[in-house]
């Protein structure tokens, strides 16, 4: 790798350094390799550029919001409000999704309703969305080009100082792919480095019991450390929908009311819960599955006790389940300086 003072020389000669993705030990053991597209391999320069862009308010129309405004590191890359407001003060209708382990979403469909095919596409939309960052890409590109640093950063990452929306989205996607959470208490327990309390173990048993919580069919297991299946389910929130979810995207009535199973990692930081943030606490979530299920024609057959309102957990089982869920908290992820501005 060689550098020179001339931009053209840099574009010709600078070779980005491949990024060494830190894949947790359990992920290496249990999961297939993460999805890294051939046309956007991870490089140190790309990731660094993506991080800078992720935190940069220039991507919004009035320079007041960045991606990180609604996807805060301290909240596991979501925020703590039910809905998020854009630069015009208009609130959206969906809860901000946490950004965790996205490189293992092999459906490659993002957002609650799966409308975004690929991380690179997803990154384009909020910038132009009128109720989010409400900018346009020509405006964003102009601001980035006028910045003293960005042209050279783009050149090092992508071999060109000519900035466009595609490269911005690629860089952001690279940064998002390194947001890996895999060092919770439960991960350490599986590796033999931590002990769970009796309550936590009981909660895990409830989680994995087909006749009790039966959470594992949608939310993973000790052998699926993603703690999600990344599939779409109608989990019985409503009898009638004001949000069709996946059905809006596919146009198939059988997909109405279906939303992507989120990961159960870092729930301590990602309240409120569900696609519309209707549940402020984990207790409310557990109560929903225990007594609050609503039948609709597309309710998932895995919501097997819908006729009774849900799985009917005891008070103790609910407390135990919550205790187990909290063992999926990864403070290393929350506090990782590599993920902060």
């Amino acid at each position: 790798m060689s550098c020179s003072n001339q931009d053209t020389d840099i574009e010709e000669e600078y070779i980005p350094v491949p990024f060494s993705l830190k894949v947790p030990e359990l992920f290496q053991q249990k999961l297939i390799d993460p999805l890294i597209p051939n046309n956007n391999p991870l490089t140190e320069e790309g990731v660094a550029l993506g991080k800078k862009l992720f935190f940069d308010k220039k991507l919004s129309g009035n320079n007041t919001q960045a991606c990180a405004t609604c996807h805060k590191p301290q909240n596991s890359f979501t925020d703590d409000t039910r809905f998020s407001d854009g630069i015009e003060g208009v609130f959206g209708v969906r809860n901000s999704m946490p950004l965790i382990n996205l490189a293992w979403n092999f459906s490659d469909r993002f957002a609650w309703d799966g409308k975004e095919l690929g991380l690179e596409r997803q990154a384009l939309e909020p910038v132009i969305n009128p109720i989010e960052m409400h900018s346009d890409w020509s405006n964003v590109v102009a601001k980035l080009e006028q910045d003293p640093e960005y042209p050279i950063l783009f050149s090092r990452a992508f071999g060109t100082s000519s900035i466009d929306s595609v490269l911005v989205a690629k860089a952001i996607a690279q940064f998002e792919r390194i947001l890996i959470s895999g060092n919770s208490k439960f991960d350490q327990y599986l590796l033999g480095n931590a002990t769970l309390s009796l309550q936590e173990l009981n909660g895990f048993a409830v989680f994995m019991d087909e006749e009790k919580g039966d959470c594992f069919h949608c939310h993973g297991s000790d052998n699926n450390p993603l703690w999600t299946d990344n599939k779409f389910h109608n989990n019985g929130l409503d009898a009638n929908f004001n949000d069709l979810g996946l059905g809006t995207v596919t146009g198939d009535p059988n997909d109405n009311g279906k939303f992507r199973s989120p990961t159960l990692r870092n729930l301590s930081f990602t309240a409120p819960y569900m696609h519309d943030g209707r549940f402020a606490t984990l207790e409310e979530v557990i109560n929903h599955y225990s007594e609050g299920l609503q039948f609709s024609p597309t309710i998932d057959p895995l919501m097997k006790k819908v006729s009774q309102g849900g799985v009917q957990l005891s008070v103790e089982e609910k407390m135990d389940l919550k205790a187990f869920l909290l063992t999926l908290t990864d403070l290393e992820f929350i506090n990782n300086p590599d993920f902060r501005d």
């Binding site: 069919h217 059988n254 057959p301 097997k304 006790k305």
Partner: protein
Amino acid sequence: MKKKILAIICFSIIITSCSEDKDIILNPVAITLNFNHSWNGTEITNADFGQLKFTNENDQILSIERLRYVVSEVSLTHESGEVTVLDDYNLVDLTNNEGMSFRTSEGILPGEYSAVTFRFGLKRADNTDGAYPDLNTANFNVPAPLGGGYHFMQFDGKYINTASVEAPFNYHVISAIDPTNVNDAVDTSFTLNLGAVTIGSNTNITIQMDVSEWFKNPNTWDLNEYDTNLMGNYDVQLLMNQNGSSVFDLVSITQ
């Protein structure tokens, strides 16, 4: 003259031997297994999902909303009697139209085989808990209290129950486990013999699952009795295993 005849004979043998040497060199070839699906002989796809349009042997109306299953251990018995096992497995996922066709990663020498078989599910020795990253990522695991390892099939839907109300069913096939003794498992995976086959350079074997058979043969299935929480039901898993024997049929073998 005799020397001339002998020379001619020797030369012929050499030519013939050389020709035979060229014919003998054969490279192993992969084979392709394709899976399609039907209900009572009528072909179905995931476009038929989510609709209460199927009637089982017990006259119950039902929908299919999720169907995926694992097949493994393709084996071929050569006409010489030698058995070759191709150590592959594949998750067939009709819901998402994935894994409907798979090409074996190992090869087999072309030729005549008196039998080709495959296994529904994973045999006990292969059904190792957490061993397969792709099946883990697909969230196909079975909890340790039920023996661990993997589902053989997840078949979910809804049916109209005796109260004339839509109710869910989860026809999940795993090894039959006595929950009071998870080490005492009956391996309910089974093999299916598709008959004789000629393996060429591009052999495609198409197999059909008649989904209705899971409910009929030999056990007429009453969903009102057995609809959900079936994984840990030892007796029900044995009933499923019995019904599975008539589910698959060979459709075609093409070259």
